[in-house]
Point group: C2
Chain length 223, copies 2
């Protein structure tokens, strides 16, 4: 019953509402995580929840987040408390004939676990590389690499991609049978995060044009 292509749902990661939208396939989870740019990271202190948006990177089955060692969030996470990391891609607005059946198309990932500090210098640099490449593939090789001081001033945490699930809604509205006769427009408004024309920094050195990976920037079909 143990399929390595799938994660095993647990009490907290199993999709209970509308279970047919749940998905535990590793490749599906990878794809959503790789298309997303930010996660919402949740943790609790004395049952007081905090939900903070932050960037992330992925290397195989490790998710990396980073920040200043002074960050309240990171200082909390390094104590080993439970984390819930959620990534959501909004794909469309689902317009039904009744108010009740309006919905959204989306792909989301929820990961549960505890985060660890990445201490090994090589893994830390690799995490930061993955971090930059996750946001803008091709960028890392062109920019000034982190100095020793910058590396020391960056806290990198890893969260294992072990206890996780995807939840996905796609397709058309599902109306009550009787409502299909109504003279109301119904369907889907697709949504996508789209890059506009790059804005050069005012202090750019003369003659430098945006690289191809900036000019053609898109989140769709990454990798």
């Amino acid at each position: 019953m143990n399929n390595p292509e799938n994660l095993t749902p647990t009490q907290r990661s199993q999709i209970k509402r509308v279970p047919q939208r749940g998905n535990y396939e590793r490749q599906v989870i990878y794809q959503i995580l790789d298309e997303g740019l930010i996660c919402h990271l949740g943790f609790a202190i004395d049952n007081q929840p905090f939900v903070i948006p932050t960037a992330y990177g992925r290397v195989e089955d490790q998710l990396y987040i980073h920040g200043s060692p002074a960050s309240r969030m990171l200082r909390s996470l390094i104590t080993g408390i439970e984390v819930c990391l959620t990534v959501t891609l909004l794909d469309g607005l689902v317009m039904a004939r009744s108010a009740f059946h309006h919905s959204m198309n989306y792909r989301s990932i929820v990961i549960f676990g505890t985060a660890s500090v990445v201490k090994d210098a090589e893994e830390k640099l690799e995490a930061l590389r993955a971090f930059t490449e996750h946001v803008v593939p091709g960028r890392w090789a062109e920019v000034r690499q982190p100095s020793r001081q910058e590396l020391q001033g960056t806290l990198v945490l890893s969260l294992p991609l072990a206890e996780a699930s995807a939840k996905i809604r796609t397709g058309a509205p599902l109306d009550d049978e009787i409502d299909y006769d109504l003279p109301v427009w119904a369907g889907v408004v697709p949504l996508q995060l789209v890059a506009g024309e790059a804005i050069a920094d005012s202090r750019l050195q003369p003659g430098i044009t945006p690289p191809t990976y900036i000019q053609n920037y898109t989140r769709v079909h990454v990798k």
Copy 2:
């Protein structure tokens, strides 16, 4: 010192890291909430955090969320536990000359508080109207209104917009002075959630074209 145009920061809502990015102006908070489509709602049970993406609506200083009475999230929230509701708009990728100074432009809102069940039938209907109109202005008047059974089968919760803050980053990268000499492209890649061409439902009644509010759908400059 009490300016009604501003929310008063509290221990948990005050922006501590990079405080100049914090903003407590009511109109700024409204605008971000009104442009957003989904929030990430955090709560904790025995210090186990959960972060769930969900849609929302706003009427003045109340945020509304809704769902099935069977939802684990809503069943937890109605017990009066603490909630952290976060809305994030990603506005751009900030490309610096060094890996270290890469950043993102964003506008986010974090709201703390406890949610209450909306029991009053009139307020509940008004919340659902706000909910639909928040996502697609103009939609509510055209669709079949909720039946008594649908209203009974929907749990609506309100969260007061009292303890909240915005955090905003805009503009160009901030590089170390020495790095401005590097021959590296730097600037901002603007990002925006854009609506594609509407996809009509396959069972649409003949002769129905998408309404203007669907054809011209945009999240920018809502209201």
